[in-house]
């Protein structure tokens, strides 16, 4: 599709949507949000670019296959769970730095992993559909 309005709007809205998704990811562990929903929002941003500029632009922009995002995300989420196990506690037990804060901790890594898995999965499907 070649529409000047869509292309111009996408540049603005696409970037905003991505920022919003990162905000949702960040606030996820104490407020509504989180990795899953953030990835859905981010995917809509990518979908906009796919519609306006075509799947090739997105593929080039990503540099890596979306499948790698899924793999990396799975590994990151599991790694976040393993941190608790190394400390002789049940799998996925939250570990925070510094230990009293609730800012940075394994739940954030877990959520980031979820974000990557969901985003990777949606992009895999989206790009394959657009290219076929």
């Amino acid at each position: 599709m070649t529409s000047v309005i869509l292309k111009t709007a996408t540049r603005l809205v696409g970037a905003l949507v991505l920022v919003l998704s990162i905000y949702l990811l960040w606030r996820g562990h104490h407020a509504p949000g989180g990795g899953f929903i953030a990835a859905l929002v981010a995917a809509t941003g990518f979908a906009l670019v796919v519609l306006a500029e075509g799947p090739g632009v997105v593929r080039r922009g990503l540099r890596i296959r979306p499948q790698y995002l899924i793999g990396a995300g799975l590994a990151l989420s599991m790694g976040a769970g393993l941190v608790g196990m190394i400390r002789q506690q049940p799998f996925l037990t939250g570990v925070w730095w510094p230990s009293t804060s609730a800012v940075a901790g394994t739940p954030l890594f877990f959520d980031t992993g979820v974000f990557l898995v969901v985003l990777g999965a949606i992009l895999t499907v989206l790009l394959a559909l657009e290219e076929s």
């Binding site: 296959r65 499948q67 790698y68 899924i70 793999g71 990396a72 799975l74 590994a75 599991m78 769970g81 608790g84 196990m85 506690q89 049940p90 799998f91 996925l92 037990t93 939250g94």
Partner: protein
């Protein structure tokens, strides 16, 4: 707390992640995949021995105490199912290595395969109904991917009804969950058990119970919700269809056993009475459907349905002996059925077809394959002393014990019909000379990757049959745990806190 419970789930997902990151290196992907299944089998064995020695194992994931967080629970039933998952996963992965050129093009094969194994382990281990729903979703996603991984038209024709009907089941499941949560305020199965003991709205609970029965019944392929199964199981690759045949419907049966022993125990006369009628109908329709078929894998698919009927029968009768029979039947059936699907692949390699009219001459040309078919097929039909004989014997004995003579008669009759189907395959594919229209004269070399899993599974069938005592004792312990859920409940809610 015991982190042992997480490994059977963690290892497959780790393997899936690794094989996704190795997208460009198929050989390495393959090696990682085989290492992954062996690792998972080892994890299952370790957990199995922990449970048989020390009793029920519990892990409160994330260190959140029981009704609030998600509990993973391993009792005897769970670990028996896990052991079979490990064995079948390994067998299917090795067989897939043998038939791989077909699948090599679809590079997501290994990742999906391991996600499916992880989903199965999660479903068998979880002590939380909503978590069970999540594992069902994981399995559905992975199995849809695997079912279509050859990208042939017939595969999509089979996969679409599979996905649609399973989404419907998922929807029913979700509705049931919402209503149950509304009624009781919890979805932890142990906690539900306690809440339902003293719950007043028994009629509403029974209605919700039937929602769950329908949802899991679709997954299990029980009457009258089974039609998706024979429409889809004969289309994917052999290794995948063997894993599906062994595991997927049995997760549904497992979920029925779990919920209708631990959760919905308030009105057994109604729920288990309905189950008994359904069990009988499932047995009969499955076996009649099989008699009408004329292709190797389709006959086997219909037999899954009739066999699910037997398992439901044991649950419906609700006596210790009957439940023992159900658990024994599950273990026996999963191994035997997966093996039969694998053997059907060997037959196709030689004859180039699954159509019994065009198959033939296997016994003369490939006696080893004939023996490898004979063991699981006649175990399925219930010939003594193979494993299926003991499974059927236990169930028929249990139904006689509580004087359900009609059901016992149905079980015997369905067993005889199963013999008919197996003999049909035996005569058509193995005994009769190769028809002039068929192929298979040229010698096809045995592939070690394919033969090894078939041989090992046949061996396991023989071992379960000839040495039925240890498996019987395990099944008996599992049945006792199911009949007396207090131990399970205490393990989860009481002493399980770290």
């Amino acid at each position: 707390m015991s982190n042992l419970l997480i490994y059977p789930i963690l290892l497959p997902f780790g393997t899936a992640a690794a094989s996704l990151l190795l997208w460009r290196k198929p050989a390495l992907q393959q090696a990682v995949s085989l290492a992954g299944v062996i690792g998972q089998l080892a994890a299952c064995i370790v957990l199995f021995s922990a449970v048989t020695e020390d009793g029920i194992q519990v892990l409160q994931v994330g260190n959140w105490p029981a009704p609030y967080g998600i509990s993973l629970v391993a009792d005897h039933l769970s670990v028996l199912m896990l052991m079979v998952t490990g064995i079948l996963g390994t067998a299917a992965a090795f067989y897939a290595r043998g038939e791989l050129p077909d699948h090599l093009r679809a590079k997501s094969f290994h990742a999906l395969f391991h996600v499916l194994l992880g989903g199965l382990s999660g479903a068998f281990l979880t002590g939380d109904l909503f978590n069970l729903y999540v594992w069902f979703e994981v399995m559905l996603m992975a199995s849809f991917g695997l079912m279509t991984s050859g990208q042939r038209r017939a595969q999509f024709r089979g996969a679409v009804p599979y996905v649609v009907i399973n989404l419907l089941a998922t929807l029913l499941f979700l509705m049931g969950l919402a209503l149950l949560y509304g009624l009781t305020g919890t979805l932890n199965m142990a906690h539900l058990h306690q809440k339902i003991l003293s719950h007043e709205a028994r009629g509403l609970l029974t209605a919700v119970a039937f929602l769950f029965m329908a949802a899991f019944g679709i997954k299990a392929g029980m009457f009258p919700l089974f039609f998706w199964l024979p429409a889809s199981y004969h289309t994917p690759g052999i290794a995948v269809s063997a894993l599906f045949a062994g595991m997927l419907t049995k997760v549904g049966v497992y979920a029925l056993i779990r919920t209708f022993s631990l959760v919905f125990h308030h009105d057994m006369a109604t729920t288990h009475g309905v189950l008994l009628v359904i069990a009988g109908l499932t047995m009969v329709t499955g076996v009649l459907g099989a008699a009408a078929q004329n292709a190797f894998r389709r006959i086997l698919s219909f037999h899954i349905i009739s066999q699910v009927g037997y398992m439901l029968l044991g649950l419906a009768l609700w006596t210790p002996l009957a439940l023992t029979g159900t658990v024994f039947y599950l273990v026996h059936h999963m191994i035997v059925k997966a093996n039969l699907f694998l053997v059907s692949g060997l037959g196709r390699d030689i004859n180039g077809t699954m159509d019994l009219n065009r198959m033939g001459g296997l016994y003369q040309a490939y006696p080893v394959v004939a023996v490898l078919f004979f063991v699981p097929a006649f175990s399925l039909a219930g010939f003594p002393p193979l494993s299926g004989f003991w499974a059927k014997l236990l169930l028929i004995q249990a139904s006689l014990q509580v004087e359900h003579y009609i059901v016992a008669a149905i079980a015997v009759a369905v067993g005889l019909m199963t013999v008919y189907s197996m003999v049909k395959i035996w005569i058509e594919a193995f005994w009769k000379p190769l028809p002039s229209s068929g192929t298979g004269g040229a010698a096809v070399p045995y592939s070690g990757w394919k033969m090894a899993p078939v041989c090992v599974l046949a061996m396991i069938t023989l071992v379960i049959g000839l040495g039925a005592e240890p498996v019987y004792r395990l099944a008996d312990t599992a049945a006792r745990e199911l009949m007396a859920p207090q131990v399970y409940v205490e393990a989860v809610l009481g002493g399980g806190r770290p």
